[in-house]
Symmetry: C2
Subunit: 240 residues, 2 copies
DNA sequence: TTGTTATTCTCATTATATGAGAATGCATTC
DNA sequence: GAATGCATTCTCATATAATGAGAATAACAA
Protein backbone atom coordinates (compact mmCIF):
# COMPACT_ATOMS: atom_id res chain seq x y z
CA UNK A 1 0.00 0.00 0.00
CA UNK A 2 2.95 2.25 0.59
CA UNK A 3 3.57 2.80 -3.10
CA UNK A 4 1.29 5.79 -3.39
CA UNK A 5 2.73 7.41 -0.30
CA UNK A 6 6.30 6.87 -1.51
CA UNK A 7 5.32 8.77 -4.60
CA UNK A 8 3.89 11.65 -2.60
CA UNK A 9 7.00 11.84 -0.44
CA UNK A 10 9.24 11.82 -3.48
CA UNK A 11 7.34 14.67 -5.10
CA UNK A 12 7.27 16.47 -1.77
CA UNK A 13 11.03 16.35 -1.51
CA UNK A 14 11.48 17.84 -4.96
CA UNK A 15 11.86 21.56 -5.16
CA UNK A 16 9.60 22.28 -8.09
CA UNK A 17 7.93 19.02 -8.96
CA UNK A 18 8.96 16.04 -11.05
CA UNK A 19 8.09 14.49 -14.41
CA UNK A 20 6.46 11.09 -14.71
CA UNK A 21 9.60 9.60 -16.21
CA UNK A 22 11.84 10.94 -13.49
CA UNK A 23 9.56 9.53 -10.83
CA UNK A 24 9.53 6.09 -12.45
CA UNK A 25 13.31 6.19 -12.67
CA UNK A 26 13.89 7.30 -9.09
CA UNK A 27 11.50 4.71 -7.69
CA UNK A 28 12.76 2.07 -10.12
CA UNK A 29 9.30 1.12 -11.26
CA UNK A 30 7.98 0.75 -14.82
CA UNK A 31 6.69 3.88 -16.49
CA UNK A 32 3.20 2.48 -16.95
CA UNK A 33 2.94 1.71 -13.26
CA UNK A 34 4.15 5.16 -12.33
CA UNK A 35 1.59 6.82 -14.56
CA UNK A 36 -1.21 4.67 -13.24
CA UNK A 37 -0.37 5.78 -9.71
CA UNK A 38 0.07 9.37 -10.81
CA UNK A 39 -3.36 9.32 -12.40
CA UNK A 40 -4.97 8.04 -9.25
CA UNK A 41 -3.24 10.59 -7.07
CA UNK A 42 -3.96 13.43 -9.47
CA UNK A 43 -7.62 12.47 -9.85
CA UNK A 44 -8.01 12.60 -6.10
CA UNK A 45 -6.18 15.91 -5.72
CA UNK A 46 -3.15 14.58 -3.86
CA UNK A 47 -1.04 15.61 -6.81
CA UNK A 48 -1.52 18.22 -9.49
CA UNK A 49 0.09 18.17 -12.92
CA UNK A 50 0.72 20.93 -15.35
CA UNK A 51 2.37 20.14 -18.66
CA UNK A 52 4.05 17.02 -17.48
CA UNK A 53 5.31 18.22 -14.13
CA UNK A 54 3.74 16.79 -10.99
CA UNK A 55 3.58 18.75 -7.75
CA UNK A 56 1.75 18.16 -4.47
CA UNK A 57 -1.95 18.88 -4.74
CA UNK A 58 -4.61 20.75 -2.89
CA UNK A 59 -6.05 17.73 -1.11
CA UNK A 60 -2.87 17.65 0.94
CA UNK A 61 -3.37 21.26 1.93
CA UNK A 62 -6.84 20.41 3.15
CA UNK A 63 -5.62 17.36 5.08
CA UNK A 64 -2.70 19.32 6.50
CA UNK A 65 -4.98 22.03 7.83
CA UNK A 66 -7.22 19.44 9.35
CA UNK A 67 -4.24 17.64 10.89
CA UNK A 68 -3.17 20.83 12.63
CA UNK A 69 -6.68 21.35 13.90
CA UNK A 70 -6.87 17.80 15.22
CA UNK A 71 -3.54 17.76 17.06
CA UNK A 72 -4.63 17.88 20.69
CA UNK A 73 -1.29 19.12 21.97
CA UNK A 74 -0.76 22.05 19.63
CA UNK A 75 -4.40 23.02 19.95
CA UNK A 76 -3.99 23.59 23.67
CA UNK A 77 -0.45 24.86 23.58
CA UNK A 78 -0.50 27.51 20.89
CA UNK A 79 -1.45 30.37 23.17
CA UNK A 80 1.31 29.60 25.63
CA UNK A 81 3.85 29.32 22.81
CA UNK A 82 2.91 32.74 21.49
CA UNK A 83 3.37 34.29 24.90
CA UNK A 84 6.76 32.63 25.23
CA UNK A 85 7.87 33.90 21.83
CA UNK A 86 6.66 37.36 22.80
CA UNK A 87 8.45 37.33 26.14
CA UNK A 88 11.76 36.10 24.75
CA UNK A 89 11.68 37.60 21.23
CA UNK A 90 13.00 34.25 20.00
CA UNK A 91 11.58 31.37 17.97
CA UNK A 92 9.56 28.84 19.96
CA UNK A 93 8.95 25.20 19.04
CA UNK A 94 6.64 22.49 20.26
CA UNK A 95 7.79 18.98 19.42
CA UNK A 96 6.72 15.39 19.97
CA UNK A 97 8.44 12.04 19.74
CA UNK A 98 7.81 10.00 16.62
CA UNK A 99 9.73 6.78 16.34
CA UNK A 100 13.36 7.65 16.99
CA UNK A 101 13.09 11.32 16.03
CA UNK A 102 11.28 14.45 17.18
CA UNK A 103 8.65 16.05 14.99
CA UNK A 104 7.81 19.74 15.27
CA UNK A 105 4.07 20.20 15.72
CA UNK A 106 3.97 23.95 16.23
CA UNK A 107 6.30 26.90 15.78
CA UNK A 108 5.99 30.60 16.61
CA UNK A 109 8.57 33.01 15.26
CA UNK A 110 10.01 35.61 17.58
CA UNK A 111 10.86 39.15 16.62
CA UNK A 112 14.57 38.40 16.21
CA UNK A 113 15.29 37.12 12.76
CA UNK A 114 17.19 33.85 13.07
CA UNK A 115 16.63 31.50 10.16
CA UNK A 116 16.33 27.89 11.12
CA UNK A 117 15.73 24.76 9.08
CA UNK A 118 12.78 23.71 11.21
CA UNK A 119 9.26 23.57 9.81
CA UNK A 120 6.04 22.25 11.24
CA UNK A 121 5.88 18.57 10.38
CA UNK A 122 9.62 18.20 9.89
CA UNK A 123 11.65 15.86 12.04
CA UNK A 124 15.06 16.12 13.73
CA UNK A 125 17.30 13.66 15.55
CA UNK A 126 16.96 13.15 19.27
CA UNK A 127 20.58 13.37 20.35
CA UNK A 128 21.45 16.89 19.20
CA UNK A 129 18.28 18.93 19.77
CA UNK A 130 16.98 20.51 22.95
CA UNK A 131 13.49 19.09 22.47
CA UNK A 132 14.86 15.66 21.62
CA UNK A 133 17.01 15.46 24.73
CA UNK A 134 14.27 16.89 26.95
CA UNK A 135 11.81 14.24 25.79
CA UNK A 136 14.29 11.39 25.92
CA UNK A 137 15.48 12.28 29.42
CA UNK A 138 11.97 11.95 30.85
CA UNK A 139 10.84 8.84 29.04
CA UNK A 140 10.27 5.70 31.15
CA UNK A 141 13.58 3.97 31.72
CA UNK A 142 12.93 1.01 29.40
CA UNK A 143 11.91 3.11 26.42
CA UNK A 144 14.76 5.48 27.05
CA UNK A 145 17.35 2.69 27.06
CA UNK A 146 15.93 1.16 23.89
CA UNK A 147 16.07 4.47 22.09
CA UNK A 148 19.58 5.30 23.28
CA UNK A 149 20.70 1.96 21.86
CA UNK A 150 18.78 2.41 18.64
CA UNK A 151 19.70 5.90 17.54
CA UNK A 152 22.91 6.82 15.78
CA UNK A 153 24.81 9.70 17.36
CA UNK A 154 25.57 11.32 14.04
CA UNK A 155 27.88 14.30 14.19
CA UNK A 156 26.37 17.56 12.90
CA UNK A 157 28.71 20.13 14.43
CA UNK A 158 31.90 20.01 16.45
CA UNK A 159 29.76 20.14 19.59
CA UNK A 160 27.45 17.24 18.82
CA UNK A 161 27.58 14.56 21.51
CA UNK A 162 28.65 11.38 19.72
CA UNK A 163 29.68 9.17 22.62
CA UNK A 164 26.98 6.99 24.15
CA UNK A 165 28.33 7.23 27.71
CA UNK A 166 28.56 11.01 27.46
CA UNK A 167 25.05 11.09 26.10
CA UNK A 168 23.62 8.99 28.93
CA UNK A 169 25.35 11.28 31.44
CA UNK A 170 23.88 14.33 29.67
CA UNK A 171 20.38 12.85 29.98
CA UNK A 172 20.92 12.25 33.70
CA UNK A 173 21.92 15.87 34.10
CA UNK A 174 18.81 17.01 32.21
CA UNK A 175 16.56 14.87 34.37
CA UNK A 176 18.17 16.29 37.50
CA UNK A 177 17.75 19.95 36.63
CA UNK A 178 14.49 19.70 34.63
CA UNK A 179 15.50 21.25 31.34
CA UNK A 180 17.79 20.61 28.35
CA UNK A 181 20.24 22.81 26.48
CA UNK A 182 21.34 22.40 22.89
CA UNK A 183 24.56 24.39 22.62
CA UNK A 184 25.02 24.48 18.84
CA UNK A 185 24.94 20.68 18.68
CA UNK A 186 22.67 20.51 15.64
CA UNK A 187 23.05 23.76 13.71
CA UNK A 188 26.16 25.90 14.15
CA UNK A 189 25.39 29.11 16.02
CA UNK A 190 21.91 28.01 17.14
CA UNK A 191 21.40 27.68 20.89
CA UNK A 192 18.26 26.18 22.48
CA UNK A 193 16.71 25.74 25.88
CA UNK A 194 13.97 23.11 26.15
CA UNK A 195 11.65 21.67 28.79
CA UNK A 196 9.34 18.65 28.77
CA UNK A 197 5.53 18.64 28.72
CA UNK A 198 3.67 15.95 30.67
CA UNK A 199 0.13 14.59 30.54
CA UNK A 200 -2.05 14.10 33.59
CA UNK A 201 -0.51 10.69 34.31
CA UNK A 202 2.98 12.18 34.36
CA UNK A 203 4.06 10.66 31.03
CA UNK A 204 6.14 12.93 28.80
CA UNK A 205 4.19 14.06 25.73
CA UNK A 206 6.60 16.45 24.09
CA UNK A 207 8.79 19.44 24.72
CA UNK A 208 8.87 23.21 24.31
CA UNK A 209 11.98 25.07 23.27
CA UNK A 210 13.30 28.55 22.66
CA UNK A 211 15.92 28.81 19.91
CA UNK A 212 18.11 31.59 18.65
CA UNK A 213 21.60 32.85 18.11
CA UNK A 214 24.16 31.59 20.62
CA UNK A 215 25.37 35.20 20.94
CA UNK A 216 22.18 36.26 22.66
CA UNK A 217 20.98 33.08 24.27
CA UNK A 218 23.99 31.58 25.98
CA UNK A 219 24.20 34.51 28.36
CA UNK A 220 20.45 34.50 29.00
CA UNK A 221 20.29 30.82 29.88
CA UNK A 222 19.10 31.35 33.46
CA UNK A 223 16.30 33.66 32.38
CA UNK A 224 15.28 31.38 29.49
CA UNK A 225 15.29 28.23 31.58
CA UNK A 226 12.74 29.79 33.95
CA UNK A 227 10.51 30.98 31.13
CA UNK A 228 10.62 27.72 29.23
CA UNK A 229 9.92 25.61 32.29
CA UNK A 230 7.01 27.84 33.24
CA UNK A 231 5.58 27.58 29.74
CA UNK A 232 5.98 23.80 29.66
CA UNK A 233 4.30 23.55 33.05
CA UNK A 234 1.44 25.74 31.86
CA UNK A 235 0.84 23.46 28.88
CA UNK A 236 1.03 20.38 31.10
CA UNK A 237 -1.53 21.98 33.38
CA UNK A 238 -3.92 22.49 30.48
CA UNK A 239 -3.85 18.78 29.71
CA UNK A 240 -6.24 17.81 32.46
CA UNK B 1 -4.34 1.50 -3.48
CA UNK B 2 -7.07 3.87 -2.53
CA UNK B 3 -7.81 2.09 0.73
CA UNK B 4 -5.23 4.01 2.73
CA UNK B 5 -6.41 7.32 1.37
CA UNK B 6 -10.05 6.51 2.09
CA UNK B 7 -9.00 5.97 5.65
CA UNK B 8 -7.22 9.30 5.85
CA UNK B 9 -10.22 11.08 4.37
CA UNK B 10 -12.55 9.41 6.81
CA UNK B 11 -10.44 10.42 9.80
CA UNK B 12 -10.08 13.88 8.30
CA UNK B 13 -13.84 14.32 8.17
CA UNK B 14 -14.25 13.36 11.81
CA UNK B 15 -14.27 16.15 14.30
CA UNK B 16 -12.04 14.67 16.97
CA UNK B 17 -10.72 11.45 15.53
CA UNK B 18 -12.11 7.94 15.38
CA UNK B 19 -11.50 4.59 17.01
CA UNK B 20 -10.23 1.60 15.06
CA UNK B 21 -13.54 -0.17 15.45
CA UNK B 22 -15.55 2.78 14.22
CA UNK B 23 -13.36 3.10 11.17
CA UNK B 24 -13.73 -0.57 10.30
CA UNK B 25 -17.48 -0.23 10.69
CA UNK B 26 -17.83 2.91 8.61
CA UNK B 27 -15.68 1.52 5.81
CA UNK B 28 -17.29 -1.90 6.13
CA UNK B 29 -13.99 -3.69 6.30
CA UNK B 30 -12.83 -6.32 8.81
CA UNK B 31 -11.29 -5.06 12.00
CA UNK B 32 -7.98 -6.79 11.34
CA UNK B 33 -7.66 -5.12 7.95
CA UNK B 34 -8.46 -1.75 9.42
CA UNK B 35 -5.82 -2.11 12.10
CA UNK B 36 -3.21 -3.24 9.60
CA UNK B 37 -3.81 -0.09 7.58
CA UNK B 38 -3.91 2.05 10.70
CA UNK B 39 -0.58 0.66 11.79
CA UNK B 40 1.02 1.48 8.47
CA UNK B 41 -0.37 5.00 8.42
CA UNK B 42 0.53 5.62 12.04
CA UNK B 43 4.07 4.29 11.62
CA UNK B 44 4.60 6.71 8.77
CA UNK B 45 3.12 9.70 10.59
CA UNK B 46 0.04 10.10 8.42
CA UNK B 47 -2.06 9.26 11.44
CA UNK B 48 -1.43 9.55 15.14
CA UNK B 49 -3.14 7.53 17.83
CA UNK B 50 -3.57 8.23 21.48
CA UNK B 51 -5.39 5.73 23.66
CA UNK B 52 -7.31 4.21 20.82
CA UNK B 53 -8.36 7.36 19.00
CA UNK B 54 -6.85 8.04 15.60
CA UNK B 55 -6.40 11.58 14.26
CA UNK B 56 -4.52 12.98 11.29
CA UNK B 57 -0.78 13.02 11.82
CA UNK B 58 2.09 15.38 11.46
CA UNK B 59 3.32 14.00 8.14
CA UNK B 60 0.20 15.52 6.58
CA UNK B 61 1.06 18.90 8.06
CA UNK B 62 4.47 18.66 6.45
CA UNK B 63 3.04 17.61 3.08
CA UNK B 64 0.36 20.28 3.29
CA UNK B 65 2.92 23.02 3.87
CA UNK B 66 4.97 21.74 1.00
CA UNK B 67 1.88 21.58 -1.23
CA UNK B 68 1.15 25.24 -0.55
CA UNK B 69 4.73 26.12 -1.34
CA UNK B 70 4.60 24.17 -4.60
CA UNK B 71 1.33 25.63 -5.89
CA UNK B 72 2.46 28.02 -8.61
CA UNK B 73 -0.76 29.99 -8.68
CA UNK B 74 -1.17 30.75 -5.00
CA UNK B 75 2.53 31.47 -4.67
CA UNK B 76 2.22 34.34 -7.13
CA UNK B 77 -1.24 35.47 -6.16
CA UNK B 78 -1.10 35.76 -2.41
CA UNK B 79 0.04 39.37 -2.31
CA UNK B 80 -2.70 40.51 -4.63
CA UNK B 81 -5.30 38.63 -2.62
CA UNK B 82 -4.21 40.32 0.60
CA UNK B 83 -4.51 43.74 -1.01
CA UNK B 84 -7.98 42.88 -2.27
CA UNK B 85 -9.07 41.71 1.18
CA UNK B 86 -7.66 44.90 2.65
CA UNK B 87 -9.37 47.14 0.10
CA UNK B 88 -12.79 45.50 0.44
CA UNK B 89 -12.71 44.36 4.11
CA UNK B 90 -14.23 41.09 2.91
CA UNK B 91 -13.03 37.52 2.56
CA UNK B 92 -11.10 36.77 -0.63
CA UNK B 93 -10.73 33.36 -2.28
CA UNK B 94 -8.54 31.96 -5.01
CA UNK B 95 -9.90 28.79 -6.62
CA UNK B 96 -9.03 26.34 -9.37
CA UNK B 97 -10.96 23.74 -11.32
CA UNK B 98 -10.50 20.16 -10.23
CA UNK B 99 -12.61 17.62 -12.06
CA UNK B 100 -16.16 18.91 -11.93
CA UNK B 101 -15.71 21.06 -8.84
CA UNK B 102 -13.72 24.09 -7.75
CA UNK B 103 -11.04 23.78 -5.08
CA UNK B 104 -9.98 26.70 -2.94
CA UNK B 105 -6.20 27.13 -3.08
CA UNK B 106 -5.89 30.31 -1.05
CA UNK B 107 -8.06 32.41 1.26
CA UNK B 108 -7.52 35.74 3.00
CA UNK B 109 -9.99 36.85 5.63
CA UNK B 110 -11.24 40.41 5.57
CA UNK B 111 -11.91 42.51 8.61
CA UNK B 112 -15.65 41.93 8.52
CA UNK B 113 -16.56 38.78 10.39
CA UNK B 114 -18.65 36.59 8.07
CA UNK B 115 -18.22 32.90 8.77
CA UNK B 116 -18.10 30.76 5.69
CA UNK B 117 -17.73 27.02 5.23
CA UNK B 118 -14.82 27.42 2.84
CA UNK B 119 -11.33 26.22 3.73
CA UNK B 120 -8.17 25.96 1.72
CA UNK B 121 -8.23 22.60 -0.02
CA UNK B 122 -12.01 22.22 0.22
CA UNK B 123 -14.12 21.90 -2.89
CA UNK B 124 -17.47 23.38 -3.95
CA UNK B 125 -19.81 22.79 -6.89
CA UNK B 126 -19.42 24.79 -10.08
CA UNK B 127 -23.00 25.84 -10.67
CA UNK B 128 -23.66 27.81 -7.52
CA UNK B 129 -20.39 29.56 -6.70
CA UNK B 130 -18.92 32.74 -8.13
CA UNK B 131 -15.54 31.18 -8.77
CA UNK B 132 -17.10 28.08 -10.31
CA UNK B 133 -19.22 30.05 -12.76
CA UNK B 134 -16.34 32.42 -13.58
CA UNK B 135 -14.06 29.51 -14.45
CA UNK B 136 -16.70 27.56 -16.34
CA UNK B 137 -17.74 30.55 -18.41
CA UNK B 138 -14.24 31.02 -19.79
CA UNK B 139 -13.33 27.41 -20.42
CA UNK B 140 -12.89 26.32 -24.08
CA UNK B 141 -16.29 25.56 -25.55
CA UNK B 142 -15.86 21.78 -25.71
CA UNK B 143 -14.78 21.40 -22.09
CA UNK B 144 -17.47 23.78 -20.99
CA UNK B 145 -20.20 21.80 -22.74
CA UNK B 146 -18.96 18.53 -21.35
CA UNK B 147 -18.93 19.90 -17.83
CA UNK B 148 -22.35 21.49 -18.14
CA UNK B 149 -23.71 18.11 -19.17
CA UNK B 150 -21.83 16.26 -16.47
CA UNK B 151 -22.58 18.27 -13.35
CA UNK B 152 -25.76 18.03 -11.36
CA UNK B 153 -27.47 21.34 -10.68
CA UNK B 154 -28.21 20.48 -7.08
CA UNK B 155 -30.35 22.97 -5.22
CA UNK B 156 -28.69 24.55 -2.17
CA UNK B 157 -30.84 27.64 -1.64
CA UNK B 158 -33.99 29.03 -3.19
CA UNK B 159 -31.78 31.03 -5.56
CA UNK B 160 -29.65 28.16 -6.88
CA UNK B 161 -29.89 27.87 -10.67
CA UNK B 162 -31.17 24.36 -11.32
CA UNK B 163 -32.26 24.60 -14.97
CA UNK B 164 -29.64 23.74 -17.57
CA UNK B 165 -30.89 26.31 -20.11
CA UNK B 166 -30.93 29.05 -17.48
CA UNK B 167 -27.44 28.03 -16.45
CA UNK B 168 -26.06 28.19 -20.00
CA UNK B 169 -27.60 31.64 -20.41
CA UNK B 170 -26.00 32.74 -17.12
CA UNK B 171 -22.60 31.62 -18.37
CA UNK B 172 -23.07 33.58 -21.61
CA UNK B 173 -23.88 36.65 -19.54
CA UNK B 174 -20.75 36.14 -17.42
CA UNK B 175 -18.58 35.77 -20.50
CA UNK B 176 -20.03 38.96 -21.96
CA UNK B 177 -19.41 41.16 -18.92
CA UNK B 178 -16.23 39.51 -17.63
CA UNK B 179 -17.23 38.62 -14.09
CA UNK B 180 -19.60 36.36 -12.17
CA UNK B 181 -21.97 36.96 -9.29
CA UNK B 182 -23.18 34.39 -6.78
CA UNK B 183 -26.29 35.92 -5.26
CA UNK B 184 -26.81 33.58 -2.29
CA UNK B 185 -26.95 30.57 -4.59
CA UNK B 186 -24.79 28.35 -2.44
CA UNK B 187 -25.02 29.61 1.15
CA UNK B 188 -27.98 31.71 2.25
CA UNK B 189 -26.98 35.30 2.88
CA UNK B 190 -23.55 34.99 1.24
CA UNK B 191 -22.98 37.13 -1.84
CA UNK B 192 -19.89 36.83 -4.10
CA UNK B 193 -18.29 38.61 -7.01
CA UNK B 194 -15.69 36.62 -8.96
CA UNK B 195 -13.40 37.09 -11.96
CA UNK B 196 -11.25 34.62 -13.94
CA UNK B 197 -7.46 34.38 -13.98
CA UNK B 198 -5.71 33.48 -17.24
CA UNK B 199 -2.27 32.14 -18.09
CA UNK B 200 -0.06 33.62 -20.79
CA UNK B 201 -1.78 31.56 -23.50
CA UNK B 202 -5.17 32.93 -22.52
CA UNK B 203 -6.40 29.69 -20.91
CA UNK B 204 -8.40 30.11 -17.71
CA UNK B 205 -6.45 28.87 -14.67
CA UNK B 206 -8.74 29.79 -11.83
CA UNK B 207 -10.75 32.61 -10.33
CA UNK B 208 -10.63 35.22 -7.59
CA UNK B 209 -13.66 36.14 -5.53
CA UNK B 210 -14.79 38.48 -2.79
CA UNK B 211 -17.47 37.06 -0.50
CA UNK B 212 -19.52 38.48 2.30
CA UNK B 213 -22.95 39.29 3.62
CA UNK B 214 -25.52 40.09 0.95
CA UNK B 215 -26.52 43.11 3.04
CA UNK B 216 -23.24 44.86 2.34
CA UNK B 217 -22.16 43.40 -0.96
CA UNK B 218 -25.21 43.52 -3.16
CA UNK B 219 -25.22 47.31 -3.08
CA UNK B 220 -21.47 47.50 -3.67
CA UNK B 221 -21.50 45.26 -6.70
CA UNK B 222 -20.19 47.88 -9.13
CA UNK B 223 -17.30 48.79 -6.88
CA UNK B 224 -16.45 45.15 -6.15
CA UNK B 225 -16.62 44.09 -9.77
CA UNK B 226 -13.93 46.65 -10.63
CA UNK B 227 -11.70 45.63 -7.75
CA UNK B 228 -12.03 41.92 -8.40
CA UNK B 229 -11.38 42.26 -12.13
CA UNK B 230 -8.32 44.39 -11.46
CA UNK B 231 -6.98 41.86 -8.98
CA UNK B 232 -7.59 38.95 -11.36
CA UNK B 233 -5.85 40.86 -14.15
CA UNK B 234 -2.90 41.58 -11.88
CA UNK B 235 -2.50 37.90 -11.08
CA UNK B 236 -2.82 36.99 -14.76
CA UNK B 237 -0.11 39.53 -15.53
CA UNK B 238 2.22 37.92 -13.03
CA UNK B 239 1.94 34.59 -14.83
CA UNK B 240 4.35 35.50 -17.60
C1' DT C 1 5.78 14.77 -42.75
C1' DT C 2 8.58 12.65 -38.78
C1' DG C 3 10.05 12.51 -34.19
C1' DT C 4 9.39 13.22 -29.24
C1' DT C 5 7.31 13.00 -25.07
C1' DA C 6 3.27 12.45 -22.04
C1' DT C 7 -0.38 9.59 -21.12
C1' DT C 8 -3.68 5.81 -21.41
C1' DC C 9 -4.91 1.06 -22.46
C1' DT C 10 -4.76 -4.17 -22.64
C1' DC C 11 -4.16 -8.32 -20.56
C1' DA C 12 -1.84 -12.20 -18.60
C1' DT C 13 0.58 -12.88 -14.23
C1' DT C 14 1.54 -12.77 -9.55
C1' DA C 15 2.50 -10.16 -5.81
C1' DT C 16 0.16 -8.00 -2.41
C1' DA C 17 -3.66 -6.92 0.40
C1' DT C 18 -7.31 -9.30 2.45
C1' DG C 19 -10.16 -11.47 6.08
C1' DA C 20 -11.42 -14.94 9.76
C1' DG C 21 -10.01 -16.01 13.82
C1' DA C 22 -6.81 -16.75 17.41
C1' DA C 23 -3.40 -14.62 20.44
C1' DT C 24 -1.48 -10.85 23.16
C1' DG C 25 -1.52 -7.04 26.19
C1' DC C 26 -3.60 -3.91 29.22
C1' DA C 27 -6.82 -1.98 31.85
C1' DT C 28 -10.91 -2.37 34.82
C1' DT C 29 -14.29 -4.93 37.42
C1' DC C 30 -16.20 -8.53 40.03
C1' DG D 1 -6.91 -13.49 41.01
C1' DA D 2 -10.09 -14.74 37.73
C1' DA D 3 -12.77 -12.58 34.40
C1' DT D 4 -14.41 -9.21 31.18
C1' DG D 5 -13.74 -5.69 27.68
C1' DC D 6 -11.12 -3.38 24.38
C1' DA D 7 -7.12 -2.24 21.39
C1' DT D 8 -3.81 -4.25 18.84
C1' DT D 9 -0.95 -7.72 16.56
C1' DC D 10 -0.30 -12.22 14.41
C1' DT D 11 -1.06 -16.35 11.26
C1' DC D 12 -2.08 -18.21 7.06
C1' DA D 13 -4.78 -19.69 3.13
C1' DT D 14 -7.06 -17.16 -0.50
C1' DA D 15 -8.41 -14.01 -4.00
C1' DT D 16 -8.48 -9.50 -5.26
C1' DA D 17 -6.26 -5.82 -6.94
C1' DA D 18 -1.75 -3.99 -8.33
C1' DT D 19 1.81 -5.03 -11.60
C1' DG D 20 4.61 -4.66 -15.88
C1' DA D 21 5.62 -5.19 -20.93
C1' DG D 22 4.29 -3.32 -24.71
C1' DA D 23 1.17 -1.30 -27.89
C1' DA D 24 -1.96 2.58 -28.75
C1' DT D 25 -3.22 7.40 -28.47
C1' DA D 26 -2.58 12.22 -27.97
C1' DA D 27 -0.30 16.52 -28.14
C1' DC D 28 3.15 19.19 -29.81
C1' DA D 29 7.53 20.65 -32.16
C1' DA D 30 10.83 20.59 -35.77
Amino acid sequence: MGRGFELLELVGRSRNGLKGREIAGMLEIPVSTAFRQLKFLTDHGYLRSSNGVYTLGSALIRLGNEAMRQNPLSRLAHGVLSELAEATSETVHLAELRGDRVVYVDKVEGSRPVRMGSMIGNTSPLHCTGVGKAILAFLPERERRELIEKIELTRFTERTITDRADFTAELDRIRARGYAVDDCEHEPGVFCVAAPVFDSSGAVLGAVSVSGSELYLRGAQEFLKERVRTAAAAISAELR
